[in-house]
């Protein structure tokens, strides 16, 4: 018996199981959907993070502005106090 010929016969292609292609397509659709789900989640988390950071920056700037205004007010009051004292001294003299 010719072994190589018998091997060719024995190893002829078999049909794939019924519904095989449909199962592959369904699994591929599920995999793509879950991939899209995770990608959307990551994008949403990135956007939320970005806007949160922006708001934090804005609040920090506002806080810095308020502190600057307060510092100027304190400096102005001290100047007024000093001016008033100088005027009183010069009036008394």
């Amino acid at each position: 018996m010719d072994l190589e010929n018998e091997l060719r016969l024995a190893l002829r292609r078999t049909t794939a199981p019924a519904g095989f292609a449909d199962r592959v397509l369904a699994r591929n659709r599920r995999r793509r959907s879950s991939g899209l789900f995770w990608a959307t989640g990551v994008a949403a988390a990135a956007l939320i993070g970005f806007f949160t950071y922006q708001r934090y920056q804005q609040m920090a700037e506002e806080q810095a502005g308020r502190q600057a205004v307060l510092a100027l007010r304190i400096a102005a009051e001290k100047l007024n106090y000093a001016r008033a004292k100088v005027l009183r001294i010069s009036t008394e003299n």
Binding site: M1, R12, R13, T14, A16, F20
Partner: protein, 183 residues
């Protein structure tokens, strides 16, 4: 797009064929499943491997140029996957003989006992000999192409084939209880 050179040496842009995934699956399911079944002799494992190969094809499809390219890619990926799988998975045939799938071209007759015995013996070969035999006798590939697909020297392919055939003859001889029957 790919370029083709005419006799006048002017490149002509040839549109790549638009390959449809579903069409590729239906056209090549027998090729991939048969290779996996010949290697594992296990229906469920063969289907799992075949499905994985096609899912990988989906990602790769934009890079492939033609249906022939797809078939070659599927053979190569399936062969390498079978070799890798054999390293981690022990062969446990679980498919009863009556559930063995039908041959896609049954018109050529073979003694069913001989056929089944050969399939079992091929599946019992160590890798990569097993996959080399499948590529040679199922897919009718020549040793040079097998070597290229598996990334091994052509000399290794030829010696693997030689040893595999010798082993198969020996085992068949023992099963038959005869010697020198197989040529």
């Amino acid at each position: 797009m790919t370029e083709e050179w005419t006799e006048t040496a002017v490149p002509i842009r040839v549109a790549k064929e638009k390959l449809d995934f579903e069409q590729c699956v239906r056209l090549h399911e027998a090729l991939v499943f048969s290779m996996a079944m010949a290697s594992t002799r296990d229906h469920a494992v063969a289907e799992e491997i075949a499905q994985d190969v096609f899912l990988e094809l989906y990602r790769k499809l934009p890079d492939l140029d033609s249906p022939a390219h797809v078939a070659n890619w599927l053979r190569r990926v399936t062969a390498n996957r079978l070799i890798d799988q054999a390293r981690v998975r022990q062969r446990k045939p679980q498919t009863p003989l009556e559930d063995v799938p039908e041959l896609s071209s049954p018109q050529v007759q073979q003694d069913p006992w001989v056929g089944e015995l050969l399939r079992e013996l091929v599946a019992s070969l160590p890798e990569p000999s097993r996959t080399i035999v499948i590529l040679r006798y199922q897919e009718d590939m020549d040793p040079q192409d097998i070597a290229s697909d598996l990334g091994i020297p052509v000399g290794t392919v030829k010696s693997s084939l030689h040893r595999a055939l010798a082993k198969l003859r020996e085992k068949l001889g023992r099963r038959h209880g005869e010697t020198n029957v197989w040529t």
